[in-house]
Amino acid sequence: MAIEINRREFLKLGAAAAATAAVCPHLAGAMELKLGGNDFHQLRTFNPRKRKPYLCTLCPWFDGGFTYAEGGKIKKAEGNPNHVATRGKFCSKGLASFFSASDPDRILTPLKRVGARGAGKWQEIGWDEAIAEVAGKVAAALDGPGADTVCLNEGAFKRGAMSRFMDTIGSSSVLYSRLPSIGNAAKQEAQRQMLGVDFALPDLEHTSYLLNFGANIFETAPPLAQRLSDAVVENRMKMVTFDVRMSNTAGRSDEWIPVFPGSDGIVALSMANVIMQKGLADEEFIDNWTNYSSSDLAEHLAQFSPQMAEEASGVKAETIERIAVEFASARPATVFSHNGVSFHRGGRDAEMACILLAVVTGNIDNRGGYCLPRHFDIGAPQPAPESVAKGVRLNHAFPFEVKIGTREVKVLFNHMSNPAYSSPAASMWREVLKDERLIPFLVEFGPFMSETADLADLILPDVVAVEREDLASSPTALLPWASMSKPFIKPPGEAQDVRTTLQKIVAVIDADGSRKMKQYWDFASPAEWVKREVEATPELKDGYKKLKSKGVYPNYGKIDSTGRKILSKGSPVVAPYRTFEKSGFPTPSGKIEIAAGGEKTVVLPSWSGHPRLSTIKPGEFVLSTYKVAYQSLSRTSNLKYLAELWHANPLWINKEVAHELGIADGALVRVTSDVGYLVTRAWLTNGIHPQVVGISTSVGRTAYGRVARADADERFPFAREELEDQDVEHNLWWQDSGTNPNDIIPIAIDPSSGIQAWNDTVVTVTPAVLGDEYGQIQVDNSKHLAIYKELQDQV
């Protein structure tokens, strides 16, 4: 749903705006060193290294960069300096991502299970045998119980070959562990309803005030983070963060406001109320560009008083008022919100409330405001099969549906997702995946032995990101871009691109062509697939060559010596703003839809507390889980430099509260939810709300390999001698590898968006009892099931 933007227009506008802009002061003077784009051997020879475009697929930001190789080996990855969004910067994960190519624990030949599921006994088999087996099972399902019994659990950020395969065989059973796009389901839902777009981009580079609700920008959104960090110094921007704990973002904000979980919605609404009441709102904008009048809106918002917000959130009414006034008086100002707000029941409504703040102050798609996303929709190679699965279905309910028999499964494919670790009720997933009666055939398409792959019947090794031909676009800059990945190296062993694997499977299923499937899989190589994607994307039509050589298209210009501005002919390239003035908003009314629904049943932004959270007793806590800067759920687990930085996830607990409970720093504690408990260590901190405890995700591995499990001796039976890393073998120094919180997090679904309400889990924290061991997890899956059934009854 990207806005249609013509590149010409962009460049023209940019040049015009630049003519008035002052020439960047850093341009004159010193011979500065170049910011990147080349690489040299580090010792003696200083030989230059070869370079190819690379696209990091570890997170949905899809940053474009380069890989450098020497002697047939990739030596380094880094951001592309002339990329409008990346500006040469990769985060730590992206920088380390190329190491997965030489991960000695990766899977390099098709593996077939021998022995019981999950017993870890495997046999290497040939591709032909593996493909014949999969094709046979799929064909049997197609001829028997129907295409829908072939299911796909998909975790890729881009809709790609796997869903095309499902469309080819006509199965609608596609489940996603994450959105096949940027953002999360609740935010997307809120954006769509109000602005008609999937995502929004705060123009952090130019803003003077950021109101941030539950987004850990510095750790999870590097392309935004680099702009935010510039604004802090260049614009003397003020930054206020509402978060339940002190993330890096909160800790570096001018103000961190600890907020009671799930109460951001009411805080935002009351702020909007204050802004309207004090006459600080941009009434003209509201009247012209929304489907609700400013006077009506003021009236509607009047019910959300700062006092009411104080009661729910614990944030003082004066603070709320003060920040609301500051925010509304700052021009330009912007707001951002993410999982902290969305991952609750009512997440979508809370997101809408946050967006409303940008709307009432008129900070929509203006310089320094809350901008509409600009990116290209990458087309599917033509001819493409008709899409069978409509919309996006998140996968949380899947194991329960299978367990209680509402969903029949003959074959389950898993791709770029790791539900046995990263989904709620992960222990339930494992129970179901282990059960051969429920899931007769489980195929993993992936390069790593994940917790899920560990339970598969067949593992078909995929290539890793640096070995993949790829194309993507993501709304991370105010000028749209697309990036390409051109691999240097052939994957080691017999690993093969999933597109090739699927092509071969289709060729067997439709051997005689009677099923009319082969036509959709008629491409010579993954490189050609990408070429056809470019052809199917109108904006990129004449960009294939540039993409291949420069890695990014369009090329708006070159980066300046400060690394902050992209210059074209010596002047900074500036993005166009207020694009809606020309074409309106892509909503049914063409305006921002504050009021949803028909004339009669108007639904306005509102808030209702979560009954369980608002009634928690002393001694109970809300468990908050979060991501850290140097790990990406399961994709970075076995990368040594990242694991060295982050391998343990002790329980964050407020210092004073812990003292009251008699919990000392470092003491073993039991964290008990409705379904079971885990044992971990307490980390006493001043950086968390007293009624919240926090456990990070991404560690606590039972699979993946030596680094992930912090056990250098635990060798994978098929580990490749040529990929062995002596460094890991001899120098791995940490022992603590954390605990996974997801087993004790029961399913909880926000009805309006379908998103998992990750942060609604109520737990108790007690000192560990005799016999408890660090890392121990004890869960009763029948309780998980009971909670699911209860949830269903409510719907």
């Binding site: 930085l645 901190t685 001043n686 940490w734």
Partner: protein, 302 residues
């Protein structure tokens, strides 16, 4: 009150550990016993002449272990001779001087011992003077090596060489007394060293102990009274992690108890003197431990 916690897990290694601390101890004890050896031949205190051979052999043996220890502790042991290559020589590095000292001191000691055996007073005296200067320098330099690291707060004190020398003196004597006591049990009665002489040495040792305690007190004053860096070093590193070597081993076992023995009537018993000597020798090792590792330990988190 403001609170602050450091939460990064990038740690640093302690570069010098046990081998270095043992080496410091050995060099010291060697120098100490050599001083006694020189009493007779260099300073002309005749009654010490019978001791000289034993003492210098002891000094030589201890010093022979040193290069082995040091060389094996190098990252690149086979490059140890780089220290002596003129093209590599670096006159501002205490270590470079130390290498020369460690080599030349045993050589001079060998020759001195040869003349002692040959009963050549003239040359024994000349070599003895050279050797004693080298002995003292060798141990002085170990103090300097630690002292000239302004970043290691706890070692960066001008007292360091003196502390080392005093420690050397007392541990050398202590060890020598032990050796003589054992030797006396096995040799013919006429060859035994007179106990009176040993008692006299114990008196020197006592003086050394008192002086060492005085230095330690000065050091304590400086760390305790002085800047935050040294104060925390003392409070937390020495009194917590290194409490055993610092407080118990060095101060109590190595100084206080021997001193009490030596000032009390216990000194009249042979076992009293022997025990005191043993405790002193061991106690000085305690100092070498905290001195080498304690100062670096604080930096592990920096």
């Amino acid at each position: 009150m403001e609170e602050s916690v450091v939460i990064s897990n990038a740690f640093h290694h302690v570069a010098w550990g046990t081998p270095i601390s043992i080496y410091f101890w050995l060099v010291g004890a060697s120098a100490g016993s050599f001083v006694i050896s020189s009493f007779g031949w260099v300073f002309g205190i005749k009654r010490y002449k019978p001791l000289a051979l034993v003492a210098s052999i002891q000094a030589i043996v201890m010093l022979l272990i040193v290069p082995i220890l040091l060389i094996w502790d190098l990252g690149q042991p086979w490059r140890f001779f780089y220290l002596m290559l003129p093209a590599f020589w670096h006159n501002t590095a205490p270590m470079a001087w130390g290498a020369l000292l460690i080599l030349s001191y045993p050589v001079s000691m060998f020759i001195y011992t040869y003349f002692v055996i040959k009963n050549n007073q003239r040359w024994a005296k000349v070599l003895g003077i050279i050797a004693i200067i080298l002995a003292l320098s060798t141990h002085w330099y170990t103090g300097v090596v630690m002292e000239l690291n302004p970043g290691r707060y706890m070692n960066h004190t001008a007292l360091a060489p003196l502390l080392f020398l005093t420690g050397a003196f007392i541990s050398g004597i202590g060890l020598l007394i032990l050796v003589l006591w054992i030797m006396n049990m096995f040799v013919a009665p006429e060859k035994r060293i007179e106990w009176k002489l040993i008692e006299e040495m114990a008196q020197y040792m006592m003086i050394g102990i008192v002086f060492d305690m005085f230095l330690l007190f000065l050091e304590f004053m400086q760390t305790f009274y002085g800047a935050e860096s040294t104060f925390i070093g003392h409070e937390i590193v020495l009194m917590e992690l290194f409490r055993f070597p610092y407080l118990w081993l060095e101060t109590v076992i190595g100084l206080v108890i021997p001193l009490l023995i030596l000032v009390s009537p216990l000194k009249r018993f042979r076992w009293g003197v022997v025990t005191a000597s043993f405790l002193v020798a061991v106690g000085v090792y305690g100092m070498r431990i905290w001195w080498v590792m304690g100062g670096q330990y604080m930096q592990s988190f920096y």
